[in-house]
Symmetry: D2
Subunit: 148 residues, 4 copies
């Protein structure tokens, strides 16, 4: 079902990893970049007290943050070198309580474009990451001349 | 323009503050609850390295997290006692780069309901919090018998 | 990828068709109910001058209308008898210009629920309906005691 | 609360009206362009059997169609001459049943931009159009060299 994409920059995986490493927020959460393919990125996040909402589940803010980064890097993986990225907008439905031990967010490009790239982002949690925790749609904007 | 609402629970402000204090994630970000009125809540967040994305602005995840909490507590302020709250879905447009020194998120109830409450959430940043950084719509779900 | 669902009402297909037939708006557009399975519904729509926007493509309003109905009936197909349905909210990304000769909208349940059911809705157009025209997420609300 | 905008093309109102007149879909619904100011457009729609869903209210598809057109023309009113417009994505919350005798959709620019313009769209219905029926957010894309 996932279309296969050809990256414009063969060095895409290194670029994604380097940009991810510069995101202080991802480090602060404890998020880990786990998979980078053309148009597909996964990010993992272990449960921790500092990620919780008032009932002990993951706060939606953390769930959405890793979905947003996964979707953004899925888009970036298809950009030519020398391109930056910005989330223009996102929408997410929270389907089930986000419980641990671990969340995995998967971002996937639905429609690449010169200016706008549309992505899906899905987050899985619970034992074996078998529970569909969230599903969303993201519009990513490419910025020229701003290496990400 | 903001409709005025009558809270069902006169103790609403204390309930909101107590729930906010239990959100490990808000503390971890450094977010501060600043204003609680019936159907209207504001949350502030100072810029910090641990909140940044790769270009030094606030990561969208942090911006969205405080918007989501502000919208959720705006809804909770109108619930009767003994009600919990859950974000069902949200959509947010990022309008301008989120720069410091400080973000302020304002959540406001658009349409209260027995089960679903629809809220707006707006985030302001830049000097004097004069820049409109993000605007969003949120569907909040009331859970009975689960004190928040 | 599509989960398989067991309908609560064996008569679901007849109920969906009867409700569709009462939608004056679908008839006015010329939309046709083409496929009804548990949690999955397809609606077709032939191109016509009365469906166009200013450049001759399908107006987004028509594209969204059939996506919304397909998603809503996908949800309704899983409801017990004596349930009505209401769209609570939707979000849709328009991926490609919606050209004829024909649009096909496919609604699919992502997460069924007692009160809220989350669905995807995708619209395809162009020759052989091979172009992905739109993708969206829908929150459908079940109303008890209001037969649809 | 509505920011005031200066149109780039003094002839904006004529351009909006001419584009609206080419939308076969708006005519088919019976929608009427009622107000055009810089960054603000209103469209009216009288109740009719052909606009109904299965319970006799306006079908969400019609409600959304006029909100989308109002938001799009609000954006177009600020574009320079020789610009076309496309809805990139929208999200809408349906707040109350959309009943007649008449709906009024108001589109308003939140953040103008060279490529993307973000708008709000609100729909009112019921007696005196006093009921808030829907509220949404829209991303409109400007196309150069395609007069709308």
């Amino acid at each position: 079902m996932q279309a296969s994409f050809t990256p414009k920059d063969p060095d895409y995986a290194r670029r994604v990893a380097a940009s991810f490493a510069r995101q202080g927020f991802m480090a602060h959460l404890g998020a880990v970049l786990e998979r980078v393919e053309p148009g597909l990125v996964e990010i993992g996040l272990d449960a921790a007290d500092h990620l919780s909402q008032q009932h002990g589940y993951f706060h939606a803010g953390g769930t959405i943050a890793i979905a947003d980064s996964a979707a953004g890097y899925a888009a970036l993986s298809l950009f030519p070198a020398g391109s930056g990225i910005l989330t223009s907008e996102l929408k997410i439905n929270l389907l089930n309580p986000a419980s641990g031990p671990r969340l995995v967010a998967r971002g996937a490009v639905v429609k690449p474009g010169r200016t706008l790239t549309i992505c899906r982002g899905d987050v899985y949690g619970g034992e074996g990451a078998a529970t569909h925790v969230a599903t969303g749609l993201f519009t990513m904007m490419r910025l020229e001349g701003l290496d990400d």
